[in-house]
Subunit: 214 residues, 2 copies
DNA sequence: GCAAAATGTGATAAACCCTCGTATTTTGTG
DNA sequence: CACAAAATACGAGGGTTTATCACATTTTGC
């Protein structure tokens, strides 16, 4: 009834919950198709250029169906972003859970950086999703929460290695290391491959040094 | 004639040149008012929520006048961003130009970080401008060019201090230090002040350590 | 087999960006 | 000053997009 007003009202709040969670198999499959279509379109042109009509068409559903499960455009991007963060967190938790000594931390962290760099290179969606990030408050908060969660794993590992360090200090370090990693990745994939590799290597060196000693 | 098509066509190109540079004093003043209005609106709600009609109204001009000097919405944001980068580069160049020894570099860099943090805290516009950054190719390139330019000053200083180091390595380090600084600032101003200060301090420590030795 | 819930549809309203024809003001020149 | 050309100012309207809603169809529970 009032076009963009609803989205505007949401703009400084959280993302609205799905209007209705798909309960039947048929609709669950359709929702998957919608997300897949959105993901592909974002990878092609960026989330800003993604058109709801195009998502619907590519998913083989009507525009109405799209809005049945996603309250607005941002909710689609948010849903994709949330999936990625969940996958990422699981991966990170697994890698850092059993770190016992400094060398183990080095190994685990180094491996994680490589994996993430690979993901960024392979899936432009990630960059684009996190790019819209800052402009959208809900996504910004999701990213921050994600960074905090990931940093927490690092903090846990660090606490085991340096029981005497100031916790607040460790948290700041871990959060910063994480956030900088994402910045480094974004930078790395926006330049040519050779320079990108050098940048990631430099980041890794810096981060490891920071994690290596108090 | 075709609404958003034109803007879409520009989307993957550079920002179009101002349709017409203001040559009379009257129009120059009006353009200033437009930019000021845009800046205020961006600070209030973000560049995405900024409405062209609102900019025109607040600047006391008509929509038509707005489009006489700015080919599209992005061009306004771009113009603001360009000013900031120019100011920033001048400031950085001045601070790093005469750095002769390691201690001088520490001092100069430390001061720069403080100044930038102050700017980020005082002017939310900066964050918002750089936030839309990733979504907009032209802005992304402006930011990269800016980072490279700023990094160049660091590289120049570093080369004087470590003549034997690999130039490519130095460039990567400097670019990374710079880009990470911006990421750290964005992070810092999105959490409470106390944590923000801690994060900036941690960044400064990391960066200084990285700049301190090869 | 049937009512209720879930799902599917697309014309349409509302809001936005930007253009264009036209009116007004300033500049340049004799 | 007069007058033409250039610069500037204006805002209604075109076209695009997001999101809604009343109604049609399918599935579920019993």
């Amino acid at each position: 009834m009032e076009g963009r007003i609803a989205a505007k009202a949401e703009q400084d709040g959280a993302v609205a919950a799905p209007r209705r969670a798909p309960s039947q198999q048929r609709s669950r499959e359709r929702v998957e198709r919608m997300l897949a279509a959105a993901s592909a379109l974002i990878a092609e042109q960026g989330s800003d250029a993604m058109r709801m009509g195009e998502v619907a068409e590519r998913a083989g559903v009507s525009i109405g169906s799209l809005y049945q499960f996603f309250p607005d455009k941002r909710a689609i991007v948010w849903a994709l972003a949330e999936r990625r963060t969940a996958e990422g967190q699981a991966c990170i938790a697994a890698a850092l859970k059993d770190v016992g000594d400094a060398e183990g931390l080095r190994q685990a962290f180094s491996g994680l950086v490589d994996i993430y760099y690979g993901l960024f290179l392979a899936e432009p969606v990630m960059r684009d999703i996190w790019s819209g990030t800052q402009a959208d408050k809900a996504l910004r908060e999701l990213e921050l929460a994600d960074s905090r969660a990931n940093a927490e794993f690092l903090v846990a590992a660090l606490k085991r290695l340096r029981p005497k360090a100031d916790p607040a200090e460790l948290e700041a370090t871990a959060l910063l290391v994480w956030q900088m990693g994402e910045a480094a990745m974004r930078l790395a994939i926006s330049v040519d491959r050779e320079e990108g590799d050098r940048l990631v290597a430099a980041y890794k060196r810096m981060a490891l040094r920071e994690l290596g000693d108090g």
